[in-house]
Symmetry: C2
Subunit: 224 residues, 2 copies
DNA sequence: CCCCGGCCTGAGCAAGCGCTTAGCCGCCGT
DNA sequence: ACGGCGGCTAAGCGCTTGCTCAGGCCGGGG
């Protein structure tokens, strides 16, 4: 765990200033955050929050990474917490839509569960910095924002529980405790954001496949 | 009388001061931290760190919960980080010993794995505040302390991996990817600390049993 | 041409942080 | 009886924090 480059100029800690197309997905992720400066602030905040945590990150650090003065942050966001809320809301929506969109309507429960888990896990691995903030920093949200985010999380839970219930009803799965198993499956997927390392030898796709298999085993699905 | 004992100074945030044996296990956990004041500081710090996170917790808050003035903390611990390190080291050792001690030497891999997971998970549920600090705040440790703790974590990983390898070798388990599965099993157990709620309807024992079953499924063990 | 409004900066405020210091209190052995 | 000492506190130092504010730069409409 490295301790981040000390600044070079007055602002700008590390990081070449240019946007450059090095991370195409990452850029798309915040595509509808405008104007450009607001988007740069979001990506800077995500990087900082993921690295050090919300409370250990200063507004000066965020602004510095975005190449601006500390005061510029407050033109685009009311508070530091507001910035976290924006990230959290967008991230949760993204993950939830992914989870739902991966399931093709016609297919059997096992395929739907595997597809959902694969997509969900892949996102948590690929965007593990964003996911880290989304999943582990929500305690820093204010009460109202927190309540709103919890709503999205309940939807995510319901989505997974739904597929498992379908599988149990159709006899494809053998699950003694649906609620508990749903919790475990979600927990397993979410925690990918904590340990996944981009420099490691496992790709997001590989982790997705591995986890889809593990989850099918957990719900007692007999391999074909 | 009006001398309001020194027990009730301006500090002391909430919390009735009495020790009383309300939480017997929790007390045993830090049994060999002496003197008494140092132990009170540890339990106060665990509560605060678990609730708000290390960086959002102030030394004044910790001292207040322990019923002392802020300065008293520094008689027993060099820094706030030192306090975290102590908690982290003791917690990691405890969990590791539990994980190893639960496995009875003679038994077959499935029983050993189930026993290990059950004990490990039960600890994470029962002591979820301690476990939260131990598992999710290690990023706040200084470099040397962090390195030391990582050593303990590697031992934990090796312990689980060992049982799984044994099961694969004996033909009891069917695991395509031992390293990945070990990671997933550990991740699943650890994350219990994040979501477990003492007010919830699941007891630590129930979660331990559920998880032992789930893990056996993950490693492809056929139920008896 | 000027002025307007969006974007940004330099300077800085009040509050709170981790930690230190000087000194007090009461229990110990002698 | 008393000196030493471990355990404690009041006070506060130096610094950083989240955030504010008066003003500057610049491109576009009148």
């Amino acid at each position: 765990m490295v301790f981040v480059a000390r600044a070079e100029g007055p602002w700008r800690a590390g990081r070449a200033g240019r946007g450059m197309g090095a991370e195409p997905k990452r850029t798309e992720e915040w595509a509808d955050v405008t104007p450009d400066a607001a988007r740069r602030l979001v990506t800077a905040a995500v990087a900082a929050f993921a690295e050090r945590g919300y409370h250990a990150t200063t507004t000066r650090d965020i602004a510095g990474r975005a190449g601006m003065s500390p005061a510029a942050l407050y033109i685009h966001y009311r508070t530091k917490e507001d910035l976290l809320y924006r990230i959290s809301a967008i991230g949760h929506r993204l993950a939830l839509d992914l989870l739902r969109g991966a399931q093709r309507p016609g297919s059997d429960p096992a395929t739907r569960l595997a597809d959902a888990v694969r997509a969900f896990v892949r996102w948590h691995a690929e965007h593990h910095t964003t996911a880290r903030v989304v999943q582990y920093e929500l305690g820093a949200l204010g009460e109202e924002h927190y309540a709103e985010i919890v709503g999205l999380r309940r939807e995510t839970d319901a989505a997974i529980r739904g597929v498992i219930e379908d599988g149990v009803a159709s006899g494809d799965f053998a699950v003694p405790d649906v609620t508990g198993t749903t919790l475990a499956v979600l927990s397993l997927c979410i925690d990918v954001a904590r340990w996944f390392n981009a420099e490691g030898k496992r790709t997001p796709d590989e982790v997705g496949d591995l986890y889809a298999d593990l989850v099918l085993r957990m719900v007692g699905h007999r391999a074909p």
